[in-house]
């Protein structure tokens, strides 16, 4: 008997107490936790900005008209002149003095590792937890792009910010069914492995900056 058949038979025997007619949906899962946040939009966006900042990520909330100047200032402050730019990111977001590193043809891991930073958009932001979610679609690039560079600048539109985790999972359902990889990012990489104190900056980007367009 194959390992698969053995394991399935063991499980079948172990579940003798489960009536044969029972269907999975007969085991009720009460979803009476909060499914949506009814707070005003402005409050939700403000909470998002505050909670991202609590993870020691720099957050700036700006008007669309000031976006490029804000991006330019952020990059200048870090002395960045060459930036990894994923396909599909609005060209208008790029400051004129920045040299873009395009991923076509794909950049090597070494090129990404030695790059100065990366700019991406995102799929959505979760206010409750201060989380950015990438579905690696247009403007976000494949997973390595937002991983190997030591600096990640992420642009979030206020309209992309939702209140609670269940709202986010609902909006990501289509991407998940399409088999797209998803990355949830809450602050820069961190560890709590030394005396359980959180230290920012381990293997992922050590610096995360977020610009919210309102």
């Amino acid at each position: 008997m194959s390992a698969k058949d053995t394991i399935l038979r063991r499980i079948h025997t172990a579940l003798r107490d489960v009536p044969p007619a029972e269907r999975p949906e007969d085991v009720r899962v009460a979803r009476d936790y909060r499914l949506t946040d009814d707070a005003p939009r402005a409050e939700i966006v403000q909470q998002f900005a505050e909670r991202v900042a609590e993870y020691k990520a720099a957050v700036r909330v700006v008007r669309e008209a000031d976006l490029v100047a804000t991006i330019a200032a952020a990059l200048r402050a870090r002395g960045i002149s060459r930036l990894v730019v994923p396909a599909g990111l609005p060209e208008a977001w790029l400051p004129p003095d920045i040299t873009p590193l395009r991923d076509t043809p794909p950049l090597s891991h070494t090129q990404l590792d030695t790059s100065e930073g990366v700019i991406t958009s995102c799929a959505l932001g979760i206010a409750q937890t201060g989380t950015i979610v990438l579905d690696h679609g247009l403007g976000q690039g494949r997973r390595a792009l937002s991983l190997l560079p030591d600096y990640h600048l992420c642009i979030v539109r206020a309209a992309q910010v939702i209140g609670l985790v269940p709202e986010a999972i609902g909006m990501l359902d289509e991407a998940a069914h399409a088999g797209r990889p998803l990355t949830f990012i809450s602050g820069p990489s961190a560890t709590s492995d030394i005396e359980l104190n959180r230290v920012e900056g381990v293997h992922g980007p050590r610096t995360l900056e977020v610009i919210v367009i309102v």
Partner: protein, 493 residues
């Protein structure tokens, strides 16, 4: 920013010795040694206090925490009661997305599958912290095949470099303080100058491992969840070492216990709220990666998922013990446990320490191989209160204590039959069988206690019974028993 002088030196990876689930964890033998180690107790006390405070803060801000816990429990109950169909659905979803699914009856079979897959491509693998791979002693099996496994989680790296075992399921090096870690890194990684600031220590790990991430072609991970409906596999982490391993290599092998499957993608809306808050005490952990099979042009182009039984179907068969498989490995029960806080994890002699380990280990390996663990608890119930998927740990502990006694009676032969406790319980059972015998014993007790009784209490008992009175007084038997009072009351009408 702190700069460290960093000299890359050939690193000595200590070969892991029999990595956990020792055959006979003897908690009562290990615990006194741990308790005598004052440095350990100080480290553990400080760490568990910190994490308890963080968890309490982020749980208290959730008005719907109890509803989430109940949903978490129900999702796992649904999964476990229909585990076979969910596993088949998961296999189908992953296979259709270009992944391969393997089934392993036990540790040896899982190790053989993984070793075979690695051998075709590499002599070195990078690993994401995974309890399941600790349970099956994968690193030792790979080493036997000449393959070096490099742990990339900071705490796992620390204990690998120290040649030690994990003492906590989330923070394996919780028993070590910063000064000890600094000393270890200077000795094993050839760092000439290093402060004991956690930032500096983390920077050392980053520099050492970055080269490994960029050059190693095979990665091995566990899995926090896998969705039957979509084939989505999930790894929850903090440092980014997980993302590195899941993204950069050509070949990815993920090992998961069969109980880690969840029915639908929607179930993440519960699990991704329960796990980080219970685990590290954060609203959300820094990184959560979800992927399905192979994504063309992004990440490993070969993906294998190993489904491991290794005793889990036995746990499933026990209708009381089944809830143990709800566990999402958050470690909240370790951090809250008064026993764990004082002994640390090594005393449990298992890859799964603390309250969850005290119920999971005996069920996975058989109670006869872990008799002392169900007794490593005061049954205070704090673990049940904090469990995000509502595992009634005290209930399972009591159930397993019964199993231990029954197993000893069944197989212990004459020696077990002559154990004082067994003799006492057998005698007691006889007394309770007959009303006359019981009432006679009550009269004998009332007479017998006379020389020992002072002010309604007994402070000293002879022989083996003295174990009870060594630490506390015993309430003396009353002058009139309930039965006598009842009979008198009836007679008086």
């Amino acid at each position: 920013m702190l700069f460290v002088l960093f000299v890359v030196k050939k690193v000595r990876i200590v070969k892991p010795q029999s990595v956990l689930i020792e055959l006979q964890p003897l908690f009562e033998k290990n615990a006194p040694k741990a308790l005598a180690n004052t440095q350990l107790r100080r480290n553990m006390g400080k760490a568990t206090q910190t994490i308890r405070g963080k968890r309490a803060a982020v749980v208290d801000e959730m008005p719907d925490w109890e509803a989430l816990r109940e949903a978490g429990r129900a999702i796992k109950a649904r999964t476990l009661r229909h585990l076979d169909s969910y596993l088949l659905q998961l296999e189908d979803s992953v296979t259709r997305a270009g992944g391969s699914v393997h089934w392993a009856r036990d540790a040896a079979e899982a190790n053989a599958i993984i070793t075979r897959l690695v051998q075709q491509q590499a002599r070195e693998v990078i690993k994401i912290k995974s309890l399941t791979t600790d349970e099956i002693k994968l690193n030792a099996a790979l080493a036997d095949a000449g393959i070096t496994a490099i742990e990339t989680d900071l705490a796992e790296l620390i204990i690998q470099l120290a040649g030690e075992h994990s003492s906590h399921i989330l923070v394996p090096a919780i028993h070590k303080n910063r000064a000890e870690i600094r000393e270890l890194f200077m000795r094993t990684l050839g760092v000439a100058e290093l402060s004991d600031e956690p930032t500096a220590l983390a920077a050392v790990a980053r520099t050492y491992l970055r080269e490994k991430f960029l050059t190693t072609r095979v990665a091995i991970s566990g899995a926090n969840f896998a969705v039957a409906e979509t084939g989505t596999v999930c790894v929850v982490e903090s440092e980014g070492n997980g993302r590195m391993c899941l993204t950069l290599p050509d070949l990815l092998i993920s090992v998961m216990g069969i109980e880690k499957v969840i029915p639908s993608f929607q179930d993440f809306e519960v699990m991704l709220q329960l796990l980080p808050r219970s685990s590290t005490g954060e609203r959300m952990n820094p990184y959560t990666s979800l992927w399905r099979g192979v994504t063309p042009g992004d990440g490993p182009q070969e993906f294998h998922l190993v489904l491991l039984d290794n005793g889990r179907s036995d746990v499933l068969a026990d209708t009381v013990g089944r809830q143990t498989l709800n566990c999402i490995r958050c470690s909240a029960c370790l951090n809250i446990c008064p026993i764990y806080e004082r002994t640390g994890g090594h005393a449990y002699g298992s890859v799964y320490p603390g309250p969850i380990g005290a119920i999971l280990t005996p069920q996975l390996v058989g109670v006869e191989h872990a008799r002392s663990l169900p007794f490593a608890s005061t049954l205070c119930g704090a673990c049940y209160d904090v469990c995000p998927v509502k595992i009634n740990i005290p209930e399972v502990l009591v159930h397993l204590r019964g199993e231990v006694v029954r197993q000893q009676q069944d197989t212990g032969g004459l020696r077990a039959a002559l154990e004082p406790e067994n003799l006492a319980m057998t005698a007691l059972a006889k007394l309770f069988e007959s009303r006359l015998a019981y009432e006679a014993a009550q009269q004998a007790g009332k007479l017998g206690q006379l020389p020992l009784k002072h002010d309604g209490h007994i402070s000293w008992l002879p022989g083996l019974l003295g174990g009870w009175t060594a630490m506390r007084d015993l309430e003396a038997m009353p002058d009139e028993t309930f039965r006598e009072w009842w009979a008198k009351r009836k007679a008086e009408g």
